[in-house]
Amino acid sequence: MTAAVSHPGRRPNQNPCRVTTTRVLRSEWHKLRSLRSSWITLISASVLVLAIGLVMGATYTSGGGDSDVDTVVLVLYGSVLGTLCTVVLGILVTAGEYSTGLIRASLTAVPRRLPVLWAKAAVFTVTVFVVMFTTALLTFVVAQLFLHDTDQAASLSDPGVFGAVVGNSVGITLLSLVALGLGALIRSVPGAIGAFVGGVMILPEVLSMLPYDVVKSTVKYFPTQAAGALGSATPLPGEAPVDGALLALCLWAGATLCAAALLLRRRDA
């Protein structure tokens, strides 16, 4: 390791500038934080969850229609809208590179290709989890300021509560990771958003209306339903058990990413 850069005609065996996993991660982190859309989607997700949580807390009255709702679910109602924001970010991270053409530059810099996808997924997962978990904790604590004298009063140390707050953020993160994988598969922002809304959000709702028990017991392991099961402090009837839901959601995200990885290796950029 003598020179900082290679020189024409020299054939470096140990080039100090070689591509490493850490460097690809740094590059993807730099990409994520240098775009306004990342900040806008993440802040929107956070603000939506917090604002809706505050409204739920401030307007709650004991014995009203929501008494039977799980405390964590009630406080984090905004997660549905927050998820939409992080889902869009996930799609922008991958499909956005195709629509702008940046993917050609990315793959020229990292011609082995797969490290780009893994690094994107890793940076995105950590970022979304940190933001959404912080938001969920804050929302829960603030909403409880309003709820402490109602039948929805709860503390993070109550059984299942902290787990559900973590589960809520894990659910959002894994759902968004499915979206990131879909973006890499479909390579078009509108196409991937359509596929996510249609396939992940609406399709299970339609299927669960079918009068077959097999369908019902399968649908509860679909991504949106599994994410819902993770964010509840008390197991709800008709929902998957937490461990099963977590496994299912990990498999969904993993399968989408692996399909994206297979195609990334094979397709022309």
């Binding site: 850069v5 020189h7 024409p8 990409k31 240098s34 775009l35 702008t100 053409g101 020229t108 022309d268």
Partner: protein, 312 residues
């Protein structure tokens, strides 16, 4: 050094590149020339591993592009289509690429400076003109101080000053011993910049030659003669190896003679007391020679209406 071995790319029934074999040597600027749709961009994408060839292979610096541990330090590339996110600043775009190789911030600033973009480094690319976009692409190509440069239509969208800048930049990069491979559909531009030419049409190799040889052989020289006795002079000059063309559009008193020189034509005319109004040696236009060569392989031909009796 870039080498292509029987590179072939098919999309369904369409063959975009067929059996391209060529070598691009270090220390020279090699022009990659062909009309639109000749397969230049596809070939360059295959060299960079972005498109996989249907058949054949290519190496840069002795191995496949993807096999390099530090590809940006080996090859700098400018692709024809913009490959940037318009929402990022020029600096952030380059820095994100630089991070993959651990290239320091100072080198990014140096590349921006080389491309004349320092003043707009922290502006979002969205607002860049076509020429600034090209400069950013060049800056990205120079980022890793690469031994090989592959540039697809680098002068596109540049103003005359930018064109001159590219021309000098390419020459100086070649003088430093780097391999410089530049595509263009403009013969005149390549004649000024390149030392060597690889000419393709419809995905096939048409010529692999030096600029000097191309000028000498493809066009040759002719002599333009204007005389009131064109017919008589024509008969006197006709002989083996001599080609005389009164073009269909040329006036009847004008001849274009190939295969002999002005001195011979002048002496012949004087010996037979034929007055000459004009006797001009002409060097074939490069553009014409290029068009002659690629005529058969132009993808989008402009229909030239045949002169018809009704119109004449």
């Amino acid at each position: 050094m870039i080498r292509a071995y029987e590179l072939t790319k098919r999309y369904g029934d369409t063959t975009v590149v067929q059996d391209l074999d060529f070598t691009v040597r270090p220390g020279t600027v090699t022009g990659f020339l062909g009309p639109n749709g000749a397969g230049k961009s596809t070939t360059m994408r295959m060299l960079l591993g972005l498109d996989s060839p249907t058949r054949g292979r290519s190496t840069i610096g002795g191995r496949a592009y993807a096999a390099h541990s530090a590809p940006l330090s080996e090859v700098g590339a400018l692709l024809e289509a913009r490959s940037v996110h318009p929402g990022r600043t020029a600096f952030n775009h380059l820095m994100a690429l630089a991070h993959t190789h651990g290239i320091p911030r100072s080198r990014v600033e140096h590349a921006l400076d080389l491309a004349g973009l320092t003043a707009v480094a922290h502006k979002r690319i969205k607002g860049f003109s076509l020429g600034m976009g090209q400069r950013l692409g060049i800056a990205a190509a120079l980022l890793g101080d690469p031994a090989t440069l592959i540039l697809d239509e680098p002068v596109n969208g540049l103003d005359p000053e930018g064109v001159l800048w590219i021309r000098n930049l390419l020459r100086s990069l070649a003088q430093q011993g780097r391999t410089v491979f530049v595509s263009s559909h403009l013969m005149s531009e390549m004649a000024l910049t390149a030392d060597h030419l690889i000419i393709v049409g419809r995905g096939r190799l048409l010529a692999d030659t030096t600029v000097a040889d191309f000028v000498a052989t493809a066009g040759g020289t002719s002599v333009k003669v204007v005389t009131p006795q064109a017919h008589a002079l024509r008969e006197l000059l006709t002989g083996p190896g001599i080609e005389i063309t009164p073009g269909p559009a040329t006036p009847p008193d004008r001849l274009e003679v190939r295969g002999t020189d002005a001195a011979h034509i002048g002496r012949t005319a004087a010996a037979h007391a034929i007055p000459l109004y004009e006797l001009t040696p002409q060097t074939a236009s490069l553009e014409q020679a290029f068009m002659d060569l690629t005529q058969e392989s132009v993808e989008y031909r402009i229909a030239t209406p045949e002169p018809t009796g009704a119109l004449a």
